[in-house]
């Protein structure tokens, strides 16, 4: 296998180079850094951690005014977000330590639960605001079922296609589309019942991304894109507020107090921020001008308070995240890892692009949050879990697994040892072929790791 050859060489040159000083050396090493086994892991970890931290800060800043007017405390919405992050963080850590097969197992039940929640939402949900999505109230907490549905679909879809690939069934169109297309269709339909156009778009995009990476024929993809486009047209035509949103993004100034209002004020916020921003907390648009400054339009507030620098950093971080996710997919040998990395990355990045594209006025307003950044526990918790899964997939890269094994168990791993997960951590090890391979490869890595520690 190619893996055993490439990993040692990458690590070897890296170890030799670090002895010398200067940035020139570092620059020369960059291509090798790209090839290091744990690069994806650190890129995903770093970018998502930065995005979550920035998100919490900006949620506080952008929600203070509205929170204060509504509840009398400037921190009420921020506290909810912190609580969501407090739930999301253990989930993320846990997920990053789960074996791959756990994600495969979770796919079907997750989709079923999501569908059930979506059905309840569609019939019992509460509608908020202008053309807004439906929310489900469970024990005083409002939940948007469409958010976890995206994660569920990403795992389920990847699992279904991976199984077919492993069973060598992927020779017929039928195998590509069943049960994936009807499953996706049901979810989209349920989400649409809750009038959430943005989420349906993300679901369909994730579906297309899966088909693309699994190697579906271009004809099928073109057909699917055509289907999605015609569906979208119908959806838009049915609801009048969508028509207004679509047309207003082309010229927000045409109706500055009506359909173009939110977009126009998003642009005002970005413009007010200029290059360097007005400083954290200094946003003017959050004083009641810009609707949803802490969720759908948080990117505008980032632009206002942190300027072009801030917005480019956010765009860059999603770029890094996307790059790292695709890198995981590209280096994965096992079909499920490749597909799951693809679907989770596609979900996060496409949602981010749609949200940012909306704020900067190149896409119509759909009303989806900026992943990891926007306020809203329903969105943050599944997204953080998704990040945990992506981290787990990154660690599952054969070379990465070796590199990690060389370090010994981490504190978290030790803390979680009572769950009895370590042994299954390299779940493929039970397969005889893979076990020997892993053993063979691990020794030189261990030696190198010890050398590194001595320096």
């Amino acid at each position: 296998m190619a893996v055993s050859a490439s990993a040692p060489s990458a690590a070897g040159t890296g170890g030799a180079g670090t002895a010398r000083d200067g940035s020139r050396v570092w620059l020369r090493e960059l291509p090798q850094v790209r090839n290091r086994p744990l690069t994806s892991y650190y890129l995903i970890f770093g970018s998502s951690a930065l995005l979550i931290a920035l998100g919490l800060t900006m949620v506080l800043s952008s929600s203070m005014v509205d929170s204060f007017t509504e509840t009398g405390s400037a921190f009420s919405l921020f506290q909810k977000q912190i609580a969501a992050a407090a739930v999301g963080l253990p989930l993320m850590v846990l997920a990053s330590h789960l074996p791959i097969k756990a994600f495969r197992a979770v796919g079907y039940p997750a989709v079923l639960i999501s569908s059930a929640l979506l059905i309840i939402t569609a019939f019992k949900g509460v509608e908020y605001g202008y053309g807004a999505v439906r929310w489900l109230e469970i024990g005083g907490i409002t939940v948007q079922a469409s958010e976890p549905a995206k994660l569920a679909f990403a795992l389920w879809g990847a699992n279904v296609l991976a199984r077919k690939e492993e069973l060598k069934q992927l020779v017929e169109w039928r195998q590509l589309l069943l049960p994936l297309l009807p499953g996706c269709g049901v979810l989209v339909l349920l989400v649409l019942l809750g009038t959430d156009l943005g989420t349906s778009f993300v679901l369909l995009s994730t579906f297309l991304a899966l088909l693309w990476v699994v190697g579906a024929p271009s004809k099928l993809l073109v057909g699917m894109i055509g289907l999605v486009a015609s569906l979208a047209t119908i959806m838009v035509a049915v609801e009048s507020f969508r028509v207004a949103r679509i047309t207003s993004f082309l010229n927000p100034e045409a109706d500055p107090t009506g359909s173009g209002y939110q977009l126009l004020h998003g642009l005002y916020a970005l413009g007010t921020g200029g290059l360097f921003g007005v400083g954290i907390g200094g946003s003017r648009e959050k004083w009641g001008f810009l609707p949803h400054p802490e969720s759908d339009f948080i990117f505008a507030i980032i632009g206002e308070e942190l300027g072009l620098i801030g917005t480019l950093v956010v765009v860059g971080l999603f770029g890094v995240l996307g790059y790292a996710g695709l890198r995981v997919a590209s280096r994965a040998k096992d079909p499920f890892t490749r597909l799951a990395a693809t679907s989770v990355t596609a979900w996060i990045v496409i949602q981010a692009l749609v949200n940012i594209g909306t704020v900067i006025g190149v896409l119509p307003i759909t009303g989806i949050p900026l992943p990891l950044v926007s306020a809203g526990g329903s969105s943050l918790i599944p997204t953080m879990a998704g990040m945990g899964i992506l981290l787990a997939l990154a660690k599952a890269e054969p070379d990465a697994r070796k590199a990690l094994a060389a370090r010994g168990p981490s504190r978290v791993q030790r803390a979680l040892s009572w769950l009895g997960l370590q042994n299954t951590g390299s779940g493929d090890a039970k397969r005889p072929g893979a076990a020997t391979q892993a053993n063979n490869a691990s020794r030189p890595t261990q030696v190198r790791a010890r050398r590194n520690r001595q320096r």
Partner: protein, 583 residues
């Protein structure tokens, strides 16, 4: 084979992942470009449009300057007051009843009205009471009622009984000068209100950290008039008393110095500045400048002065003066039946002979008479700039018809306002140099520094010699053989001139039923004039002739003025001048 059974050749996942990466990168770069466009290139446009929506200017009120008399006594001043308001959003429900009770009781307001204002959510500003004294507000503020606040404002106050209401005028509800000097001097008095630029959120909240652009308010300047409060008050009283006694329609008093400074300007009828609503337009108009009338005999001094200045006659030149004289179709008569007399120019003025003045006027000629009338200030504005000024009518001599030269020479066929006429006598008293009448002595800034007003324009109209000769003639008016012996003031030498003119009824535009205008204008001490007093009464009822209606008022005000302004008598004797040809 059904379509779904069709087999396919799978694409290469690695290639497709790379393509996806490229696609993502392209979109991200496009987005970055769009961001650079919004936040870099077009940022200023968006930012200013956004700022326009939230920037709002709060005006900081400033104090309006005082109007004071020459000694600094206030005739109009501003006092600080509070406008008490309630912010219904800030009123907690459990205190609502208490707040309503407190407000309605304190300001004596209807409970239901106050309750409506306190409950007027989502409004954030409901005015409860205006013009609340600072002390009253401090007391209310001490109760710490939530949602009740006050704004500083200024209220214009006019001390009672200044007797200058018509002259001072008043301000409108916006605090800007509306009438009288308040209006004329508004630019000086008003100052410049400060500006506080704030950014306001949608709900009306001020965005805290946004720093507003502040323009400091500039307080208005105090204006010091040439007026003397005491003389003004006395003049107003004396005028009103006499006007009511004689049932006159209107009247005015001007007290001025030879150098043009007006010491008092009273007008009848007037109004109380504390009851502006209860006054009508006639009460508020300042008749001293707004009412033009035919001057009558007081105009004779101009005819005489012109003829003297041109060297056409001397004070002792003897004229043959019959009782009446025919010019074209009109017969001009003297006021009293008399035999044909041989009178000097002195006598013509002292006895106010129309027939004699016509002869002097004909000596002077229409062109010259017109020139002198103009030089003495007729036919043009006084320069006081008071609202509603009527500059009178002085037609061009080319348009005069046959009898107009004789009639104008003794004060008919032209019209003047009271200030214009008084200025003629000020000019004579000033030795022939006419100073434009003035009311404003100067301004006092915030530093209490007095800045004198611009010197009034001065122009020599007649020589000092001519002026002196006229002064003596006018003194003879109050002499034993003059027309106004009752204008004498013990201890002082007084010069003056009576005037009577038929008055045009302002309602019909005809002389018929208009009554007459009675004038007395004079100065004292006659040999070193310090004060000019002119009294004009329009339409007094009764059988008074000539100056008899106005003269007692003159004597009263002149005595008071001399005393108040501490002008000593000159202790000289009037020279004996010849009024008639020596027999």
């Amino acid at each position: 084979m059904p379509p779904l059974r069709r087999t396919f050749r799978r694409g290469d996942p690695q290639r497709r992942i790379r393509l996806a990466g490229v696609l993502m990168t392209v979109v991200l770069v496009l987005f970055a470009g769009r961001l650079i466009q919004i936040q870099g290139i077009d940022a200023a446009t968006y930012a200013s449009e956004a700022a326009d929506l939230r920037l709002s200017t709060i005006t900081i009120p400033t104090t309006r300057g005082q109007i004071t008399d020459v000694n600094g006594n206030a005739l109009a001043l501003s006092t600080e007051v509070r406008t008490v308001f309630v912010d219904p959003v800030d009123v907690p429900d459990d205190q609502r009843a208490k707040i309503i009770g407190e407000l309605s009781e304190r300001f004596d307001l209807d409970r239901d009205e106050v309750a409506a204002k306190v409950g007027a959510e989502p409004s954030r500003y409901e005015v409860i009471a205006k013009n609340v004294s600072p002390a009253e507000w401090t007391e209310l503020d001490g109760l710490g009622l939530p949602g009740v606040g006050a704004l500083t404002d200024y209220k214009r106050v006019y001390p009672e009984e200044t007797g200058a209401a018509d002259l001072i005028g008043f301000t409108g509800s916006d605090g800007r000068g509306l009438e009288g000097l308040e209006g004329v001097l508004d630019d000086t008095l008003a100052g410049e209100p400060g500006e506080h630029q704030v950014e306001i959120g949608v709900s009306g909240t001020q965005i805290p950290m946004a720093k507003g652009l502040v323009k400091e308010p500039v307080a208005g300047k105090d204006v010091r008039l040439t007026l003397d409060q005491d003389v003004q008050w006395h003049a107003q009283q004396a005028l009103a008393e006499r006007a009511e006694e004689l049932d006159a329609e209107s009247g005015s008093v001007i007290v001025m110095r030879p150098t043009g400074e007006i010491v008092a300007m009273a007008d009848y009828p007037t109004y109380s500045p504390s009851d502006i609503e209860g006054s009508d337009r006639e009460d508020r108009s300042n008749g001293a400048v707004a009412e033009a009338f035919e001057p009558g005999s007081t105009n004779k001094v101009i005819t005489a002065a012109g003829a003297l200045e041109e060297g056409l006659t001397t004070p002792e030149t003897v004229y043959t003066v019959p009782y009446s004289i025919q010019r074209y179709d009109q017969t001009f008569k003297d006021s009293h039946q008399h035999e044909t007399q041989r009178m000097t120019l002195n006598g013509i003025i002292a006895q106010s002979s129309n027939v004699g003045t016509i002869q002097v006027g004909e000596q002077l000629g229409a062109e010259s008479l017109y020139d002198y009338l103009g030089k003495f200030g007729f036919g043009k504005p006084t320069g006081l700039d008071l609202p509603g000024e009527n500059a009178g009518i002085l037609t061009d001599p080319d348009d005069w018809w046959g009898t107009q030269l004789p009639s104008i020479s003794f004060g008919h066929g032209l019209s003047v306002n009271a200030v214009q006429m008084a200025s003629v006598y000020a000019t004579i008293a000033n030795g022939g140099v006419r100073a434009e009448p003035t009311l404003v002595a100067g301004t006092v800034g915030e530093d209490k520094e007095f800045t004198p007003a611009e010197e009034p324009r001065q122009e020599r109209v007649i020589s000092a010699g001519t002026a002196g000769e006229i002064q003596l003639m006018l003194e003879a008016v109050t002499g034993d053989e003059g027309t106004a012996a009752e204008a004498r003031i013990p201890g002082y030498r007084v010069a003056g001139k009576t005037g009577t003119a038929n008055r045009v009824d302002p309602e019909t535009g005809e002389y018929e039923g208009g009554g007459y205008t009675s004038t007395f204008v004079g100065f004292a001490p006659a040999d070193a004039p310090e004060l000019i007093v002119q009294v004009v009464l329009h339409g007094p009822e009764g059988t008074y002739h000539g100056g008899e209606a106005a003269t007692p008022v003159f004597t009263d005000i002149m005595s008071f003025g001399l005393k108040t302004m501490k002008i000593p008598p000159t202790d000289t004797e009037p020279p004996n001048i010849r009024l008639f040809e020596d027999k």
